[in-house]
Structures are given as structure tokens and as C-alpha cells.
């Protein structure tokens, strides 16, 4: 049974990813750790608890982490996910207790205590970078990191060169990339096209009528409206669930390119850009892999099956 830690800036698509993981019988979520990103860390923590309750499965401990990036000023994406991050639907507090330990301490401790634990990150990498800097020996034991982060060839309408999770804390990303732990990036690119849910698919999902199905669509209301207003069509991309699905079902990634990846920290034009060097002509280490193609049909089936 694979064990994992989920680090999340829980907003609407992170919520789906959490439910997906908790309802998957092949893995055990040892902890959920929260970070500021989509929303402030207090909201991310509350939303994580709402999601855990909504999964109606088991309840892993929740650890709160960093409220700010390591060096940069905080940016959030509340205009995209709702002020509360879950479509402002007013989901009640499920009364899950918050652990006292800081997320960075918990991550390092769990990695130390569990042979071969994996980490899936759905938000900025601040907690992990802090854990790496505070406990480099312990963190070298992480088996793998699957990160929703970065973009490849997608023309990102928000920021031309970078994706949100990396843009929020590029220094944290670079710390991770230099830490000797292999990172599989699931970029924004593979979340569009066939992997996006259109109006019919959203209706079909909603029509399942289960609390999870309702939750998946309802908490993403702001994101759906935002997409409609900005681009004129109703579609929901699910970056965090896509990344989680790639971890839960390793066969889902049809194409993965090994790379030496660096995060640009200094450019005025392209801060937070992940630069993937697939050729590694200078003999640079393979510190990462970029997922460039997924089985979109299988991904959507996973989402539906999760809600039945």
C-alpha cells in the first residue's frame, strides 16, 4: 500500500484531488499539509478539512504550514476560486481538529518515520522547501514528489511564462529542484482539451447526485463562472485532480519526459518559469520528469467512479 502526504493550498480543484485520494483503496494518505496559495493558509486549512469530511472515507491528520512564500510577497487566486476558495458555497466547518505541529516539521517527521513515502503537491512548494532547508537529511528519504505545477507549451492567459503554483514561490521550487529528490511535474498543458470537463460532462457528473458529485461541481462554481466570463465557454479544467490521478494511477501518464529542470528566479519577463532541459548536453542530472500526455478518458472515468 503506497503512503503519501498531500500538500495543498486547498481551493476548489485541490478539494477534488483530496477526495479522489481519500477514496482510492490503493493508497493511504498519512497527512494533509496546508500552504498559502490559492487562498490564505487559514482558508486552505479549513477547506482541506471540508474536503476530508466530504470524502466520507478516513480522516488523516491535518497540519497547517506556511502563510507566506519564503521570500516573495503573497499572491492568491481568490478571484478564480471564490473568496473562500470553494465557490463561496458556505460549507460548514466539519470540526476536524488541527494538529499542533507545523506542516514542515510533520512532513520531515513522516518522511523519516515511513520508509518510501511519496508526496503529492497541489500548491506552492513553500512547506516542502522549508522542510528541505530545516531537515535536509530526513528529506533526502522522500521516495517521490508528484507536483501539480508549471506549464510547457500552453499559452497561459494569466501569466505568459509561468503557472500559479510555481509563480507564487519560485524560490521554493528551485530549492526543491536542487534537493536531489525526483519531481514529476504535471503541468497545466495536460489539463486542457480532452481532459477538461465541458457543460455536458459537468451536468452528467452532477446528475450522479451523490454528495461528492454535487461537491465537485458546486465548489468549482466560481471557477466555472470565471472561465465563462473570460473565455465565453463553460468548461472546467482540473489541474490538481489531474496531478493526483497521475500519482494514483501511474499508467495515466502516457508520456513522461525526463529533464533537468530549473526555476527562473531573476528574469523580469519570466519570473517563476520552469525551464525544462530535456537534452542535458552538459551532463546535468535528471532531477525531474514532465508529463506531456495523459489518458484523458481514463482520467474522467476516475472522477466519475470516485463519485459513485
Amino acid at each position: 500500500m503506497r503512503k503519501l502526504i498531500i500538500d495543498t493550498d486547498t481551493a476548489s480543484d485541490d478539494a477534488i484531488a483530496l477526495v479522489l485520494a481519500l477514496r482510492c483503496p490503493d493508497v493511504k494518505v498519512e497527512a494533509v499539509t496546508t500552504v498559502a496559495g490559492n487562498v490564505p493558509v487559514e482558508a486552505a486549512t479549513r477547506n482541506a478539512m471540508v474536503s476530508i469530511a466530504m470524502a466520507d472515507s478516513y480522516r488523516p491528520p491535518v497540519y497547517r504550514g506556511c502563510g507566506q512564500p519564503l521570500w516573495r510577497r503573497q499572491i492568491t487566486a481568490q478571484q478564480v476560486h471564490g473568496q473562500d476558495g470553494l465557490g463561496d458555497r458556505g460549507y460548514p466547518d466539519p470540526g476536524i481538529p488541527l494538529e499542533r505541529e507545523h506542516a514542515a516539521d510533520a512532513i520531515a517527521r513522516l518522511v523519516q518515520e515511513n520508509e518510501g513515502i511519496d508526496i503529492v503537491t497541489l500548491g506552492p512548494l513553500t512547506n516542502l522547501a522549508m522542510a528541505v532547508r530545516l531537515y535536509p537529511q530526513a528529506m533526502s528519504k522522500v521516495r517521490s514528489i508528484t507536483a501539480m505545477g508549471g506549464q510547457y507549451r500552453q499559452l497561459n492567459p494569466h501569466w505568459p511564462c509561468s503557472e500559479f503554483n510555481i509563480l507564487v514561490d519560485p524560490e521554493a521550487a528551485q530549492i526543491l529542484l536542487g534537493a536531489g529528490i525526483h519531481i514529476t511535474f504535471v503541468p497545466l498543458d495536460v489539463c486542457f482539451g480532452a481532459a477538461a470537463f465541458d457543460r455536458q460532462e459537468l451536468d452528467a457528473l452532477y446528475a450522479l447526485g451523490t454528495p461528492q458529485a454535487r461537491f465537485f461541481v458546486d465548489c468549482n462554481r466560481t471557477l466555472i463562472d470565471y472561465t465563462l466570463a473570460k473565455y465565453g465557454y463553460e468548461e472546467l479544467i482540473m489541474p490538481d485532480p489531474t496531478a493526483m490521478a497521475c500519482y494514483l494511477e501511474p499508467g495515466l501518464a502516457l508520456e513522461k519526459k525526463p529533464a533537468f529542470t530549473r526555476c527562473e528566479l531573476q528574469s523580469v519577463l519570466a519570473p517563476g518559469e520552469l525551464v525544462y532541459d530535456f537534452e542535458r548536453r552538459g551532463g546535468e542530472p535528471e532531477n525531474s520528469a514532465l508529463v506531456t500526455k495523459i489518458d484523458a478518458e481514463r482520467f474522467k472515468k476516475m472522477i466519475f467512479d470516485c463519485c459513485r
Binding site: G67, Q68, W71, D105, T126, M130, R133, L134, Y135, E171
Partner: protein, 312 residues
């Protein structure tokens, strides 16, 4: 009594400041937290322990912190102070082992338990930045971060634009500068100019036979040749101990200016530069930058305390 935590990448200057602080009745050293910088972390711990032991004044707990800067690679070794940070002297002596707790966690624990603590930051601010990020609530319990860091008033010291501590970890320095915690900065120029010991004072310190004085003078022997080569003058300065002395005797700060300060993390030529902004809005001017010190009063105090006559 001023409560003090000393964070240091202990080479000879920091060692002198630690011993001085432990022997100064107005200062209560709650802990010494070590960081990599001028020397690697293990060496900073060893030198801190030596200084604590040789101060012989009650001691303080020691904690090991970060072994490299937040983002930038570690500083090139060895520095002009020698691979051991103490001019290659094989100093011996008892001293505390670094406690099991990470310095960042110790900082957080102590700052949650105490109020009005001054942090004397003598090295790259890696530990401090991480502590403030990990536990933002501690900011309110810090009266001031007194840092021997930065420059910009006249000339730089480590690169053409930057001083060593800020250059080594500009991200940490900038995060600390922006934290809202009041800052008291002792820039490189001020220390090099006004924290000097004259030949006679140095000779008296050398002659005292005091173990802390030995650490200070012999450990700092690298300064003569280094300063002669760089500045044409073989002077001896103790900017770190002077900063500690100014905490006990603020009247020895003869000149200062108030400004907002930032550290450059991304410049090519300006990496690590401290930018002093005197035109910022009042509420953003959280730094007091020391421009002049009472050299004579400081020198007398440093010699008396490190020479064994002012010990607690």
C-alpha cells in the same frame, strides 16, 4: 537587563561578540544560534562553544541552525579568516555541545516564551528568515534585530556593491528587512571605521592572558594582513562586539539615520546590495542605520570586558 539571542556564523569577530555579551551585566544571553556563512555550520558551532566556554560567565545554550543559505549556494570557503575562522589557531577549551533542537525551532520556542528580546544577527540571516516565516507570531516579541550587515553609505566590503552577510543570503536578509521588526543596522563601513582597537589597546588585550582575549586577538590575527592588502592599513576592528556593546550602551551610537532597507536578490552587479531608502513612507522606515560610533568608549569597554576586568 536586555534579553539577547545571538545568531552567528562564528568566526573570530562573532566569537569576541559572544564572549563580550556573556560578560556584560546589562545583557542576558538567552541562547546562541549558529548558522553557516563565514565558516561551515559545524565550525560555527565549535567556535561558538569555544567563545561560550572561554567567557566563563554562566554560559548559554547553543543550537545549530541552517547549513546553507535559503536559495544561493554556500559561501566559498575558506574566507580570509582561515578555514577554522580563527586564523588557523588550534584553540582548545570546554564549551556546550549544540542542543538537539534545530536553531530555527529554538528561536521560535524562546521567542514565544519571552517578550522584548533583541536578536544580535552577526551572520547571514538564514535562521532568522526561516523562523519568521515558520512562526510569524514571534515578530511581536522581538524588540529589535541588531545586525552587523549591509553597507551602502560609502563603500562596500565583500563585493563592489555588497557586504558579506547580506551577499551570502540576500533572500533571508530581504525577508528579515521586510518583516516589520525594528532593525538596528551596523553597516560594514561604520564597523571598520569606528570599532577599531589601536595598537596599544590591542597590546594590552594580548597581554591580559585572558582566554576570551586570546580568542579575540589571536583568532583575529587574520585581520592585519587582510586589511593591509585591501585598505593599505593593518588595522584591527571588532564590529560585532561593538554592536553588542552598543546594545548595552546606546549612547555610544553617535550618528544614525532612519530609512527603509531592502536587499537585492537578483542583481548581476548589485547582488546582495542593501538599498537604503530615505524617501519611503514613515511607517516603512523600520531601519535605523548606524553611521558613527564612539570609538574610544567602545574600545575601552571591549578591552576591559574581554581582558577579564569587567567580567560578571
Amino acid at each position: 537587563m536586555q534579553k539577547l539571542i545571538i545568531d552567528a556564523d562564528t568566526a573570530s569577530g562573532d566569537a569576541s561578540a559572544i564572549a563580550f555579551s556573556l560578560r556584560t551585566p546589562q545583557l542576558q544571553v538567552l541562547a546562541v544560534t549558529a548558522v553557516a556563512g563565514a565558516v561551515p555550520l559545524a565550525c560555527a558551532c565549535r567556535n561558538s562553544a569555544l567563545a561560550i566556554g572561554r567567557a566563563g560567565a554562566g554560559g548559554a545554550p547553543l543550537y545549530a541552525g541552517c547549513d546553507r543559505p535559503l536559495v544561493r549556494p554556500a559561501a566559498a570557503q575558506p574566507g580570509p579568516w582561515g578555514a577554522d575562522g580563527l586564523s588557523g589557531n588550534a584553540f582548545a577549551g570546554p564549551g556546550p555541545a549544540a542542543g538537539p533542537e534545530h536553531a530555527v525551532n529554538a528561536l521560535i520556542r524562546i521567542l514565544r516564551a519571552e517578550r522584548e528580546v533583541t536578536i544580535l544577527a552577526l551572520g547571514p540571516m538564514t535562521n532568522l528568515a526561516l523562523a519568521l516565516r515558520k512562526a510569524p507570531d514571534i515578530a511581536g516579541n522581538i524588540s529589535c534585530i541588531a545586525a552587523v550587515a549591509g553597507c551602502g553609505l560609502s563603500r562596500a566590503s565583500h563585493t563592489a556593491a555588497a557586504e558579506f552577510n547580506v551577499f551570502t543570503d540576500p533572500h533571508a536578509a530581504d525577508a528579515v528587512f521586510r518583516s516589520g521588526v525594528p532593525l538596528l543596522l551596523f553597516p560594514a563601513e561604520t564597523g571598520l571605521a569606528d570599532a577599531r582597537l589601536e595598537e596599544a589597546e590591542l597590546a594590552a588585550l594580548r597581554a591580559s592572558g585572558d582566554p576570551a582575549a586570546e580568542l579575540c586577538v589571536q583568532g583575529g590575527a587574520w585581520q592585519a594582513e587582510y586589511h593591509r592588502a585591501r585598505y593599505g592599513e593593518a588595522f584591527f576592528a571588532l564590529p560585532e562586539a561593538a554592536a553588542a556593546a552598543c546594545l548595552a550602551h546606546p549612547e555610544w551610537i553617535l550618528g544614525s539615520l532612519r530609512c527603509k532597507v531592502r536587499a537585492d536578490v537578483s542583481g548581476a552587479a548589485t547582488l546582495g546590495q542593501t538599498v537604503l531608502d530615505g524617501k519611503a513612507p514613515e511607517e516603512e522606515k523600520t531601519a535605523r542605520v548606524v553611521t558613527a560610533l564612539d570609538r574610544r568608549a567602545l574600545a575601552a569597554c571591549l578591552c576591559k570586558t574581554l581582558g577579564g576586568e569587567g567580567a560578571k
